[in-house]
C-alpha cells in the first residue's frame, strides 16, 4: 500500500487536557493558547458513523461511502472516511486504526484486536 503509517499529530491542551485534530492554535474547549503537539497512536473506535447516499458534487460517483466520528484512545475525536470495511459490519465501538497515505485524505480501517 505504499507509504502508510498510522500515527497522527494532535493538539493537546495543557490547561484542560482536551485533544484536538486537526491541530488548533487556541483550545476550542477552554480558550487557552497553551497547546502542544502530541503524537498519538491513530487507534480508536467508531463513536458514530453515517453512510452517505447523496454526496456533494466533489464526491459524486463515490457513494455510498462511510464517514465516521472516530474516538481516539488518547481522547480526540476525528472525522474521516472508513475504508476496507463491509457496510453491514460497522458498529459503534468498532476498533479502528488510522491509515495515513501520502497524497490522500486520512482514513480509518478496522483494527484486528487480540482477545485478552
Amino acid at each position: 500500500m505504499g507509504k502508510v503509517h498510522g500515527w497522527m499529530i494532535v493538539s493537546f491542551c495543557q490547561s484542560c487536557c482536551e485533544m484536538f485534530y486537526p491541530r488548533r492554535d487556541v483550545c476550542p474547549s477552554c480558550g487557552s493558547r497553551n497547546l502542544d503537539d502530541q503524537t498519538v497512536s491513530g487507534k480508536g473506535d467508531v463513536y458514530s458513523y453515517t453512510v452517505i447516499h447523496e454526496p456533494p458534487t466533489t464526491f459524486e460517483g463515490e457513494a455510498p461511502y462511510v464517514v465516521a466520528l472516530v474516538h481516539l484512545i488518547e481522547g480526540a475525536y476525528v472525522t474521516a472516511q472508513l475504508r476496507d470495511v463491509d457496510l453491514a459490519t460497522i458498529f459503534i465501538g468498532m476498533p479502528l486504526e488510522a491509515v495515513m497515505e501520502s497524497g490522500k485524505a486520512m482514513a480509518f480501517r478496522p483494527r484486528l484486536c487480540l482477545v485478552e
Binding site: T50, H53, I92
Partner: protein
C-alpha cells in the same frame, strides 16, 4: 435599549420557482410586509441569505435588493450565518431599532436553491460546517446523521420513533397555502423513504426549495403609525459553538441552542413553561429533538417522546412547526428564520385560521446553522 415590535409580515409561497429571481422573491415579500403594516417606507433593510454567492454567483445582496425594490440610496446589508441567516438578520434588525439607530426597518429572508444540480446544492450547504468535515465528503445531512446515530445508540430510540416529527409537520402544512408539501405523511411512507445519509432519510429532511419572507420592525414610539398593534420582540439572543462536531465533548448537547435559549428566557423574563408555541429548526428530525431538549422542553434524550405523545401538536403542550415547519412548509435556508417570525406573528394575532394555537400569547422561534454552530432565538409576545 428601546422596545421593538413587528408591525408587518409578508411571505411568498415556498416551492420551486424557476421563473422568479432572488430579487423578485425578496421584493415580493418586502412589498407584502409593507402593505400589511401600512408602511410607505422603511429606513433600512437587513437581508438574510446563505447561498446566493455559491448558487447564483451573486453577492452584494444589500444593494441588489434595495435597487430591485426601488429603494436606491437606502442602507441595506446582507447577513449570513449558514442556514440560520434569517434568524441572524432578524437579530441585527432588532439591535438597530433597539439601539435607536432606526425607527423602522425591514428584515427579509430570501433563498433560491431549486433548479441546480443536487450535488452542488449539498456542497454549498456543507459550507455551514467545517472544511475538515466537508473534505471527507460529509454533507449537512451527514453531520446530523452522525448526531442521530449516536443519539439512537445512547437513548435506545429506533428510526421509526422520529416519524412523529415529520408526520406532525406535514399535518400542519396541509392548511398552509404557503407550504411546499400540503399533504399528510403516513408512517408507511416514512418507513420506506430512501436513505440520504444513513440513518437519515429523505423524510427526515427538509426540502431544497425557494422562498422569501419579511417583517417590518419598529420602535414602540413609531408603532402608532402602522395598521397593526405590534407583536413585541421580548428577546433576541444569538450564540455560537465549535463549527466542527469533532471539536465538541458531547455532540448530543447543542450548547449554542442551550445558550441562546437561556439568554432569551433571561431577556424576556420567561421560562419554557410560558411558551405557547415554538417554531423550531426542524431541518432534520433529530434537530427538532435536540432543540426541544436544549431549549428546556424535555430532558436530554427525551425530545422524541414529546413528538410521540402528541405534545408537539397544535393542541399539545408545546406545539411546534404550526404551519409545517422546515420539513413541510419548506426550508429555503436563509429565509426560514423569517418564515418562522411571520408564522409566529400570525399565531399571536390570532390570524392563523385552521393552524391556530388557541390562546397563543407567547411564541419562541429558533434558527440553527450546520450541526448547531450558530443559533438565534427570539421570543415574541402580545
Amino acid at each position: 435599549m428601546r422596545h421593538v415590535g413587528i408591525v408587518g409580515i409578508g411571505q411568498t409561497p415556498v416551492g420551486t420557482w424557476v421563473d422568479r429571481t432572488l430579487s423578485d422573491l425578496a421584493v415580493a415579500s418586502l412589498r407584502s410586509a409593507m402593505q400589511d403594516a401600512g408602511a410607505d417606507s422603511v429606513q433600512a433593510l437587513y437581508i438574510g441569505n446563505m447561498l446566493s454567492g455559491q448558487l447564483q454567483r451573486q453577492e452584494n445582496l444589500g444593494a441588489l435588493i434595495a435597487d430591485a425594490a426601488g429603494l436606491r440610496g437606502m442602507p441595506s446589508v446582507k447577513i449570513e450565518a449558514g442556514c440560520a441567516a434569517g434568524g441572524a438578520a432578524l437579530h441585527m434588525g432588532v439591535l438597530a431599532v433597539a439601539a435607536g439607530v432606526y425607527d423602522t426597518v425591514a428584515v427579509i429572508g430570501v433563498e433560491k436553491m431549486a433548479g441546480y444540480p443536487v450535488g452542488d446544492v449539498l456542497a454549498a450547504l456543507a459550507t455551514a460546517g467545517a472544511l475538515d468535515e466537508a473534505a471527507h465528503g460529509l454533507t449537512c445531512a451527514g453531520l446530523n446523521a452522525l448526531i442521530m446515530r449516536r443519539y439512537m445508540y445512547e437513548y435506545s430510540w429506533r428510526h421509526d420513533d422520529f416519524a412523529a416529527f415529520s408526520i406532525n409537520a406535514h399535518r400542519n402544512a396541509v392548511t398552509n397555502s404557503n407550504a411546499m408539501f400540503r399533504r399528510p405523511l403516513t408512517l408507511e411512507e416514512y418507513r420506506t423513504a430512501r436513505l440520504i445519509a444513513d440513518p437519515l432519510t429523505l423524510l427526515d429532511s427538509s426540502p431544497i426549495c425557494d422562498g422569501a419572507a419579511a417583517v417590518i420592525l419598529c420602535s414602540a414610539d413609531a408603532a402608532r403609525h402602522f395598521r397593526h398593534k405590534p407583536v413585541r420582540i421580548t428577546a433576541s439572543a444569538v450564540a455560537t459553538d465549535t463549527v466542527a462536531l469533532h471539536d465538541r465533548s458531547d455532540i448530543l448537547w447543542p450548547r449554542a441552542v442551550y445558550a441562546s435559549a437561556k439568554a432569551a428566557y433571561g431577556q424576556a423574563g420567561r421560562s419554557p413553561q410560558d411558551i405557547d408555541l415554538f417554531e423550531l429548526h426542524d431541518a432534520f428530525s433529530i434537530t427538532a429533538a435536540l432543540s426541544l431538549e436544549a431549549s428546556g422542553f424535555a430532558e436530554k434524550g427525551a425530545g422524541v417522546r414529546l413528538a410521540q405523545d402528541g405534545a408537539i401538536a397544535l393542541k399539545g403542550s408545546i406545539p411546534i412547526c404550526t404551519f409545517g415547519g422546515l420539513k413541510a412548509r419548506g426550508h429555503p435556508v436563509g429565509a426560514s428564520g423569517l418564515y418562522q417570525a411571520v408564522e409566529a406573528v400570525m399565531q399571536l394575532r390570532a390570524d392563523a385560521g385552521n393552524n391556530q394555537v388557541e390562546g397563543a400569547r407567547i411564541a419562541m422561534i429558533q434558527s440553527i446553522a450546520g450541526s448547531g454552530s450558530f443559533v438565534a432565538t427570539h421570543i415574541l409576545e402580545v
